[in-house]
C-alpha cells in the first residue's frame, strides 16, 4: 500500500466517523467514555457535595407517589389512561400493573421504593442503583449533551445529564421508552417518549437530600408539574441481588390473578 493509498483510507475512515454516530450513547467532547482514565482523571472543580451512600425514601416528608395535581390538564391520550385507572381503582383493581408484572420500574418511581437507592459519586458521574430489581441509572456529568433521540436506545431510566448549579445538582433526563412506563401507576399517569424530567437535588443536612422533580410530557398533559421528595441516609444496608424472576408471580396471589389486574 502506497502512502497515498494509506492517506485515502484514513480520510475515508475519518469521513465515516463524522457521518455515522460512533455510539448509541453520547460521548463527551473528547469521545471518551465515563470510566476512561483521561476523562475520569481530568481536573475539575470540587463538587459541592458527595451523594455516595445508600438513600431511602423519607415517608415522613412526603408520600411515595408522584401523583399529579388535580389541576393538571391532560391530553386525550393522558385522559384515556387516567379514566381507566380511576375505574380500575374504584373496583379494587390495579390498572396496567406493569411493575408488578416485572417490567422495569424506571424514572421517577425507581427513586422512591422503600428499598434504598445506592449512589456512588465519581468525579465525572454518579451511579445510582435502586436495590429493588437492581435498576441502574447513570448521571453523566462530563459535559456531554443528550444523545440524538434518533440514535439513543430508549430506556425506563432515561438518559440523565447532570451539572452543578450553585449548591445544587441539576439533572436533565430524557430519551425514555414510550410504553409500559409510569410516573404514577395508581393515577394512570404514563411516562411517554416525550417525558422530560428536571431534578434539583440539594443536601438539607449531611443525612438528608431533597429532590425536586419537574415533569413535562406534552403527549400526556399540558405544561409541567413539580413534586418534592426527601431521602435519608441508610447506613445498615448493602446492595443485594433483587430480581423479578419469571416464577415470582406464580407465588404472589396479588399479581397472579388476572381479575385483579387490568391489562393492556
Amino acid at each position: 500500500m502506497t502512502i497515498n493509498q494509506s492517506m485515502m483510507r484514513l480520510l475515508c475512515l475519518l469521513g465515516l466517523a463524522l457521518a455515522v454516530p460512533s455510539a448509541v450513547t453520547a460521548q463527551n467532547q473528547d469521545g471518551l467514555s465515563l470510566l476512561a482514565p483521561a476523562n475520569l482523571n481530568k481536573t475539575r472543580p470540587p463538587a459541592p457535595f458527595n451523594l455516595t451512600g445508600a438513600w431511602s425514601w423519607d415517608a415522613k416528608f412526603a408520600g411515595a407517589n408522584f401523583d399529579p395535581p388535580d389541576s393538571l390538564v391532560l391530553t386525550t391520550y393522558g385522559q384515556k389512561h387516567y379514566e381507566a385507572a380511576k375505574k380500575a381503582a374504584a373496583e379494587g383493581k390495579v390498572y396496567r400493573n406493569d411493575i408488578g408484572l416485572c417490567w422495569p420500574i424506571g424514572m421517577p418511581i425507581m427513586m422512591l421504593r422503600a428499598w434504598p437507592v445506592h449512589m456512588i459519586q465519581m468525579p465525572n458521574s454518579i451511579y445510582m442503583v435502586q436495590e429493588l430489581m437492581n435498576e441502574i441509572r447513570v448521571i453523566f456529568m462530563d459535559g456531554r449533551a443528550h444523545t440524538d433521540p434518533d440514535v439513543a436506545v430508549p430506556s425506563w431510566a432515561g438518559e440523565s445529564i447532570g451539572h452543578w448549579e450553585g449548591g445544587s445538582l441539576v439533572i436533565d433526563t430524557t430519551n425514555f421508552v414510550d410504553e409500559r412506563h409510569w410516573v404514577s401507576e395508581r393515577r394512570g399517569l404514563p411516562g411517554s417518549d416525550q417525558l422530560h424530567i428536571i431534578e434539583r437535588i440539594k443536601m438539607v443536612d449531611n443525612d438528608t437530600l431533597q429532590d425536586e422533580f419537574t415533569f413535562e410530557d406534552p403527549k400526556v398533559y399540558v405544561g409541567s408539574f413539580k413534586v418534592t421528595k426527601q431521602m435519608k441516609r441508610t447506613n445498615d444496608r448493602d446492595l443485594q441481588e433483587v430480581r423479578c424472576l419469571p416464577n415470582l408471580n406464580d407465588h404472589m396471589p396479588t399479581t397472579q390473578a388476572d381479575d385483579f389486574n387490568v391489562r393492556q
Partner: protein
C-alpha cells in the same frame, strides 16, 4: 395469651408500615382483615424481592387447597426471628395473613405459629 398478644403487636406493626417494599400494588387485599389457616408447609421460599409460603390446607368442605402467602424479603424477616430453615416442607403450622377481599386462598403474611408454638412474624 402470649401468642395472641404477639400476633396483635405484629399486626399493628404491619398496619403502620405501607407495603412499599413490595414489587407491586396490594389492591384486592383487605388491609384491616385477618385470616388464620392451619396446614402443612408445601414450600418456603427465602428470597428477594419476596419470600413466600405455599401451604396445603384442607378447607371446611374437606377439599384440598393450596394457599399462597406473600412475605417480606429476608432483610425484614430476620428481624422477626426468621431464618431460611425456619419452615420446612411437611411442617404443620398456623399462618395469619391479611386476606383477599374476595376470600380467595392466600394473602399477605403477618405471622406464623411453628409446630413448637414459637411465633415468627414480619
Amino acid at each position: 395469651m402470649e401468642i395472641s398478644r404477639k400476633s396483635g403487636v405484629l399486626a399493628l406493626l404491619l398496619l403502620a408500615s405501607p407495603l412499599a417494599f413490595s414489587h407491586h400494588s396490594a389492591a384486592g387485599i383487605d388491609q384491616k382483615g385477618s385470616v388464620t389457616v392451619t396446614g402443612t408447609v408445601k414450600e418456603f421460599q427465602w428470597g428477594n424481592p419476596h419470600s413466600w409460603i405455599e401451604l396445603d390446607v384442607v378447607n371446611a368442605k374437606g377439599e384440598a387447597e393450596v394457599w399462597n402467602f406473600e412475605m417480606n424479603p429476608p432483610v425484614y424477616l430476620v428481624k422477626g426471628g426468621f431464618t431460611r430453615s425456619s419452615l420446612k416442607p411437611g411442617d404443620k403450622v398456623a399462618v395469619t395473613a391479611k386476606p383477599f377481599i374476595d376470600k380467595r386462598p392466600g394473602g399477605i403474611f403477618v405471622s406464623v405459629v411453628l409446630p413448637d408454638g414459637k411465633v415468627l412474624g414480619k
